[in-house]
């Protein structure tokens, strides 16, 4: 309970803290990788600003300065043409040196951004239209589990995300932690980051992936290592068995209405692979890939008509009576 309270506090605090820079901002750097990119961005922006101002000043001065009168357009001064030629070539050389220097600076940053620490915690993320499947793999299968849309990682430890796609190309991007990397159909990419501070960092699919590309968000929550371990242990367990009559009915309806054909709830007969794993749904902050905060009314609205909230998504609208809906929502809310 204290864990949830603390992470809840962390969420609130982070939201307040990062609101000044935006909680999906490249400038809100919270990892070694994103901090390095931010440094690079600042260098490039500074050089660009200086160059732009210089060019504008030369242009402005060139326009307003006093000019010698020219009778004919072709009356050119040999001396000016020669001098202009040399100045242009010098400026061209300076341009070349500048861009090559910037290339070298960029290569230097790549060493940090692409550093590959083999001892990293590994999380496998699979992109689906339009949600994220998150798998924690361990040496023994019973320590491996699957969740969705919310990734939790330990603070201060390198984390490798293995990226794959179940359908079209997506892109994994949490600006506060590191740059994006595509989830390309038929290949595995990896990206690594080391979160410096606890917090909730928002990410979003960055490669156009179809009708609901806009609603394919996720969060990465960096937790202190102890909290992280506790969270893993908890996620590793199956779903708690329904205890009260309403949630028992909800569980029956969940299976009876075919929800389990697409969704898995570990510890029950629901084992579908098409939609997000719901084993610990009630431990998540949002539903529908970051589209809505998870609360009773949003959950009910979503199940009642997912196509209204996220048109075109792959979850069909089920015709449920209101008492059935209440039972299912009640059951799902037990899935702590």
């Amino acid at each position: 309970m204290i864990v949830w309270l603390r992470s809840g506090l962390a969420v609130t605090a982070t939201c307040v803290l990062t609101s000044c820079t935006g909680w999906q901002s490249s400038f809100n750097a919270q990892a070694a990788q994103s901090a390095e990119i931010k440094r690079l961005l600042v260098i490039f922006l500074a050089v660009a600003t200086v160059v732009w101002i210089t060019v504008m000043l030369v242009l402005l001065f060139g326009l307003i300065r006093r000019k010698a009168i020219r009778e004919q357009p072709l009356d050119l001064h040999e001396a000016f043409e020669r001098r202009a030629g040399s100045v242009i070539l010098i400026a061209g050389t300076a341009t070349t040196i500048t861009v090559l220097a910037l290339s070298v600076v960029s290569y230097g940053a790549q060493r940090t951004v692409f550093a590959n620490d083999p001892s990293a915690v590994t999380v496998k993320v699979t992109g689906h239209q339009w949600w994220w499947e998150v798998q924690y793999q361990a040496d023994s299968p019973h320590l491996s589990f699957t969740t969705a849309n919310e990734i939790r990682v330990p603070v201060g430890q390198p984390v490798t995300i293995e990226l794959e796609s179940a359908d079209v190309i997506h892109s994994f991007w949490v600006p506060s932690l590191t740059g994006k990397m595509d989830l390309v159909t038929g290949q595995q990419n990896t990206v690594q980051f080391t979160a410096k501070n606890p917090g909730v960092y928002r990410g979003q699919c960055a490669e156009f992936c179809g009708i609901q590309h806009a609603h394919m968000a996720f969060t990465v929550t960096a937790l202190p290592p102890d909290d992280y371990r506790r969270w893993r242990d908890h996620q590793n367990q199956g779903a708690p068995a329904p205890s009260d009559p309403l949630s028992i009915r909800g569980e029956q309806l969940f299976r009876g209405r075919g929800c389990g054909l697409c969704h898995t709830i570990r510890g029950t007969l629901a084992g579908g692979q098409l939609g997000p794993d719901l084993t610990h749904l009630a431990s998540r902050e949002t539903i529908a890939a970051g589209t809505l905060p998870r609360n009773t009314s949003n959950l009910a609205a979503w199940i009642a008509d997912p196509q209204h909230i996220k048109p075109g998504n792959l979850m069909p609208k089920m015709s449920l009576r209101s008492d059935e809906l209440i039972a299912i929502v009640h059951y799902l809310e037990q899935l702590q």
């Binding site: 020219r70 357009p73 001064h77 202009a84 100045v87 242009i88 061209g92 359908d167 590309h213 806009a214």
Partner: protein
């Protein structure tokens, strides 16, 4: 007046004719047949060029309206003006229309009209191919837009990445429409590219050696080569996509050993040069306008030409910077960082040359020059943000965000559309014989300049704040709504500048001040003939003795005599020194290019519905081509 070879064949030449008599004969011989049917047979590069320009500008307006729709949708968080399905069609149509139906065609369109005039010839090379190209472009563009109106508009982005555009994830005809539109526009573009290359190489006026070719013509020559080498790549890509969708080939099917990144390589091997296919003509226009309004030749003609050529070569070595986040090996990606940054050098050199020209010249602040000054302010920002996205780590943050949207609009609108609108003001008098209103022109410029910057500058910040591209909406908690609102307001101002441009054109067509032959006192050959030019362009082909012939020789250019007045004839010259070689017959008007284009269109559209169109669709094309190439028994060309 220098005579060509003596009159061996005994046909009537223009040597002995009086000016008025000659003009009357040429007018009769070169005019486009009158009437509705006659207009369809035209092979006059000016008639076709004008149609091409107007059609491309019509697509600009349509594409612009889509942009306005998108800005309305994004003006605030969670607005529901457009459904996600419609929004995805709208942004795909916007990108595809702007890139394939506006930007590339409009540059080629101006080249079709002006390159023959600027090199001093009577018609473009392969005039019937030119007519065919226009019809194919028109039909392809209409096909795309009609499909959109019937809710079959493509919704996979202008880049149509597989597997999103594969049959599995796009089971309707939408992706087919996109792919086939590509086929249309590529054929049209390739045809014009061939015509421009041949016109520039073989039909230059006598004495227009390589170092006397106007910069804009050089730019179009380089562009045409880029088209020739880049477009086949996208044709391979789109054709293999259609084959995957239509007859179950497996080019992009990973389950059967296909590869989805192959698509991206092919697409961007075309797509990056495409940017320069749009920018290089813009750079040519800038050089031309600066020379005219700074009232002196551009400084560093040779540097500029070599920069254009270098840009052309380098543009083929950058495509991977669109794929930095696809997981390519780092070493390879790093190489493309350096090459992408290096392309800033030739662009930089040109900018330095233009700055030097303005530094020394005495600028006349007319509307075309204002647009070029706006070009400087905007394009340099775009170039510098281009250097930023060339860096792999920076690109990892800004790729596919609004930062990149801002970047390429600064490059393309700054680098191509501002010069283009400048050129509309510059060349309108030549095309119509009337000046555009200067007063409206100034309003037009300031609205465009302010509107553009207000619309697009905030997008840099939005991108850094994490707003991805191609999202139909966003939530208020992201904190993006204020900047988006500002951007939408700027877009409205920017759009109004185009309304003003249209109003100016409408007004000036009837009431504009008569222009005269050379209203700006410019130096290139298109100003040596009347405004608008007669169907035969020049009654006698000029002889060029200087890079700026009209400044060097005043109004009295030396001319060539000895061309036949019994048939349409153009003068062919040698590639390097432009020495006269051959008098070649230039084709008469013909309906066959139109019929061939119709047959081709039926074949293309049919083939997205059934593979059998490849069988029944070809005989009509064959018949039309036989009609087109039916021997006419015309005389052999003469040395």
């Amino acid at each position: 007046m220098s005579d060509l070879a003596p009159d061996a064949a005994g046909d009537l030449r223009d040597n002995g004719l009086e000016q008025s008599e000659l003009a009357a004969i040429l007018q009769r011989m070169w005019r486009t047949p009158s009437g509705w049917l006659g207009a369809l047979t035209s092979v006059d590069h000016k008639v076709i060029g004008k149609r091409y320009i107007l059609t491309a500008l019509a697509f600009l307006i349509l594409g612009g309206l889509l942009a306005v729709l998108m800005r309305l949708q994004l003006a605030g968080a969670e607005r529901r003006l457009l459904s996600p399905d419609l929004y995805n069609q709208v942004f795909t149509m916007h990108g595809s229309t702007m890139m394939f139906l506006f930007a590339v065609p409009v540059m080629e369109a101006f080249a079709v009209y002006f390159v023959p005039l600027m090199v001093g010839t009577r018609n473009i090379a392969f005039p019937r191919l030119n007519a065919f190209s226009y019809w194919i472009f028109l039909f392809g563009g209409c096909f795309l837009w009609i499909a959109f109106l019937f809710n079959v508009g493509p919704d996979v982005g202008w880049f149509a990445y597989v597997p999103l555009s594969s049959l599995q994830y796009n089971p309707t005809k939408r992706a087919d429409v996109w792919a086939q539109m590509i086929t249309f526009t590529e054929i049209a573009a390739l045809a014009v590219a061939v015509e421009i290359v041949v016109t520039v190489f073989k039909q230059r006026a006598v004495g227009m050696t390589l170092d006397r070719i106007p910069v804009f013509v050089w730019a179009m020559l380089v562009t045409s080569f880029l088209v020739l080498f880049a477009m086949p790549s996208i044709m391979v890509a789109s054709t293999s996509l259609i084959l995957d969708r239509l007859v179950n080939t497996h080019f992009y099917d990973t389950a059967s050993g296909g590869n989805v990144l192959l698509w991206q390589h092919l697409f961007w091997f075309f797509g990056h040069p495409e940017v320069y296919i749009i920018f290089i003509p813009g750079a040519g226009m800038v050089s031309m306008i600066i020379a005219t309004f700074a009232r002196r030749p551009v400084v560093g003609y040779t540097i500029i030409i070599l920069s254009l050529i270098a840009t052309g070569f380098l543009s083929f070595g950058l495509w991977v910077h669109h794929m930095f986040v696809t997981g390519l090996p780092q070493l390879g990606a790093s190489m493309f960082t350096a090459s992408s940054m290096l392309i800033a050098v030739p662009s930089g050199l040109q900018i330095f040359c233009w700055l030097a020209t303005l530094w020394d010249g005495r600028p006349v602040y007319r509307t075309p020059l204002l647009f070029v000054l706006g070009f400087f302010v905007i394009f340099v920002v775009g170039g510098l943000s281009g250097v930023m996205v060339a860096s792999v780590p920076i690109d990892m943050q800004v790729h596919d965000t609004y930062f990149v949207v801002a970047h390429f609009h600064y490059v393309l609108i700054g680098g191509a559309v501002f010069p283009l609108v400048g050129v509309v003001y510059y060349w309108f008098p030549k095309i119509t014989g009337r000046m555009l209103s200067e007063r409206l022109g100034r309003w037009n410029f300031w609205l465009a300049f302010i509107g553009f910057n207000v619309a697009f500058f905030p997008m840099h910040i939005l991108g850094l704040m994490g707003m991805p591209r191609r999202v139909y909406t966003y939530t208020a908690e992201m904190g993006w709504d204020h900047l988006n609102y500002l951007s939408s307001a700027g877009a409205a101002v920017f759009a109004s500048s185009f309304v003003l441009l249209i109003a100016n054109v409408m007004f000036s067509l009837r009431r504009g001040e008569p222009a005269g032959d050379n209203p700006w006192g410019a130096s290139t050959l298109e100003w040596a003939t009347s405004s608008p030019p007669p169907p035969y362009n020049f009654s006698r082909i000029p002889v060029v003795t200087h890079r700026d012939p009209l400044w060097a020789d005043g109004g009295n250019l030396p001319v060539v005599a000895g061309l036949s007045v019994e048939r349409r004839e153009v003068l062919l010259s040698s590639i390097a020194d432009a020495e006269p070689h051959t008098r070649e017959a230039s084709p008469e008007p013909s309906i066959w290019p139109l019929l061939t284009a119709i047959a081709t269109t039926i074949f293309f559209i049919g083939s997205i519905f059934t593979p059998w169109a490849a069988v029944w669709g070809t005989p009509p094309i064959a018949i039309a081509l036989i009609g087109w190439f039916w021997p006419t028994g015309s005389k052999e060309d003469e040395e």
